[in-house]
């Protein structure tokens, strides 16, 4: 039996990679993907908890997180497309104004 700590450790490492990716990349697309990465790492730990604690609550939460992730991806990408149509830029440091 794999200890629960291992899962949490794995989830934490992936989460941190997601955080780092979000911070250091210039490309908004990859930043969005890093967010997905973070959400997935949380999912892993939730499913692991659910399995080890023999409770379905974790898995239910995963459902809601997937829903939120889908909504987030749709909105984020829509913003990105709108942004690209206005500025033709996908890099964070090229987008410096609030005015469209």
């Amino acid at each position: 039996m794999v200890p629960l700590d291992w899962y949490i450790g794995l989830s934490a490492v992936i989460f941190v990679i997601g955080v780092v990716g979000f911070i250091i990349r210039r490309n908004i697309l990859i930043m969005l993907m890093s967010v997905e990465l973070m959400l997935n790492s949380v999912n892993i730990s939730l499913v692991a908890f659910s399995h080890y604690l023999q409770d379905l609550r974790g898995q239910i939460f995963v459902f809601f997180i997937i829903t939120v992730a889908a909504a987030e991806a749709a909105i984020g990408l829509a913003i990105l497309v709108a942004l690209f149509k206005n500025k033709a830029a996908v890099h964070t440091d090229e987008i410096t104004e609030m005015k469209g």
Partner: protein, 399 residues
């Protein structure tokens, strides 16, 4: 860092459709600027099949320029030949005999059927209905066999001559053709029309697409079924008849909305009308010669006559070595109704045996030029429908 850009930027894709593309009916090239699927700008480029027919004709005799016209609209070469012969006959002021006129009319209408068959079926094939293509090619094959029976060639026939036709048709030909005309209307109704006429997808793809109003169509210079689809009953066969068209009865089908569907319906209806004309011609076919009495001055005598008859031999010898007789000085414009539209020959003669200037008014050339107009507000799939609906042959467009 950057100043705010005022206008909305979108990234357009430019695709070069053709010259080698299955839906461009030859070597038409369209440069399409696409925003997603919708066409922002459509620019046709032609000239990939330019062979300088007009220039070549200036250096040939009136007779030897005839085969050049075969290669214009290579799927309806008989109509082009007839158009050229009508123009030259008008220039020389000669009149072919009655029987020749009827034969020409039959041949022209057979060509119209086979050309419309190709036009409709490749159009349907472009839109995705593949079976009509194979059905109709079976019937086209019968017509082409009949061409072969009389002219010895299947596509580039060079059969009409200045002042008549090359040789008489056989009774067997007429019988077989009559048999065809008996069956053909039923084939159209049973097989062609049932396949796509009421098909919902076909209607969706053709109704309301590429709409052009009657005034605008005339202003663009459209002719033939492409114009008649907009509701203008302009048909040279009716209003300036040549050959035997004034002796037969037929209707000029017109559309109402000027969209792709109406043009398709016009062509479909013309198939039936052509069939009707052929039938009448066979029934009324007079007896007699097939070459005008003064025509030997322009045309090579038949081979068997050359080998047996002294006068014909001399005649051939003179024609070949000295060139043809001089044409009267002047200029004529003769328009005929070929399957694609109005084919005009403008011949300027300076009194020598060769045309000083032969201008070809090719319907396809005009029809290609209207493509950007038809593709306004279109999406990519409509461009294909529009190319099909104007029924172009690039050999004629580029000359």
């Amino acid at each position: 860092m950057t100043t705010a850009t005022k206008e909305l930027k979108t990234k357009e894709i430019t695709i070069s459709m053709g010259p080698q593309h299955p839906a461009t009916h030859g070597v038409l090239r369209l440069v399409l600027d696409l925003d997603g699927e919708s066409v922002v700008k459509c620019t046709p480029y032609v000239g990939y099949l330019h062979r300088g027919v007009e220039k070549l004709a200036e250096n040939r005799t009136y007779l030897s320029a005839l085969p050049l016209t075969d290669r214009l609209d290579y799927i309806s070469s008989m109509s082009n030949n007839v158009g050229y012969c009508v123009a030259v006959e008008r220039l020389f002021g000669i009149e072919p005999p009655e029987r020749a006129k009827y034969i020409r009319t039959i041949m022209c209408e057979m060509t119209r059927i086979s050309s419309h068959i190709i036009g409709i079926s490749t159009h349907a094939l472009d839109i995705g209905a593949m079976t009509l293509f194979l059905y109709s090619f079976r019937d086209r094959e019968r017509l082409i066999d009949l061409f072969e029976m009389t002219c010895g060639a299947r596509l580039t026939v060079s059969y009409p001559r200045i002042g008549g036709v090359r040789n008489d048709v056989s009774q067997e030909f007429l019988d077989k053709l009559y048999e065809f005309t008996e069956e053909f209307p039923k084939i159209i109704e049973d097989q062609y029309e049932t396949l796509i006429d009421q098909n919902r997808i076909w209607l969706q793809r053709t109704k309301g697409i590429g709409v052009i109003s009657a005034e605008e169509a005339i202003n663009w210079g459209l002719t033939g079924p492409t114009l008649r689809g907009s509701g203008v009953p302009y048909d040279i066969r009716k209003y300036a008849p040549y050959d035997a068209y004034d002796k037969v009865e037929f209707d000029v089908p017109v559309g109402r909305n000027g969209d792709v569907y109406d043009r398709y319906k016009c062509r479909m209806e013309e198939l039936k009308q052509s069939n009707r004309i052929i039938k009448q011609c066979i029934e009324q076919m007079p007896k007699g010669p097939v070459m005008a009495p003064d025509a030997p001055k322009f045309t090579l005598p038949p081979k068997d006559r050359v080998l047996t008859d002294m006068e014909s031999l001399i005649h051939q010898f003179v024609l070949i070595t000295k060139g043809p007789i001089a044409a009267p000085e002047g200029e004529v414009y003769a328009a005929t109704e070929v399957p694609k539209g109005e084919l005009g020959f403008y011949i300027v003669s300076d009194g020598s045996g060769r045309p000083y200037r032969m201008r070809l008014r090719a319907p396809s050339f005009v029809h290609v030029s209207v493509l950007p107009r038809l593709c306004r507000d279109a999406i990519l799939a409509d461009v294909i429908a529009n190319i099909g609906t104007i029924d172009i042959v690039l050999g004629e467009c580029d000359r």
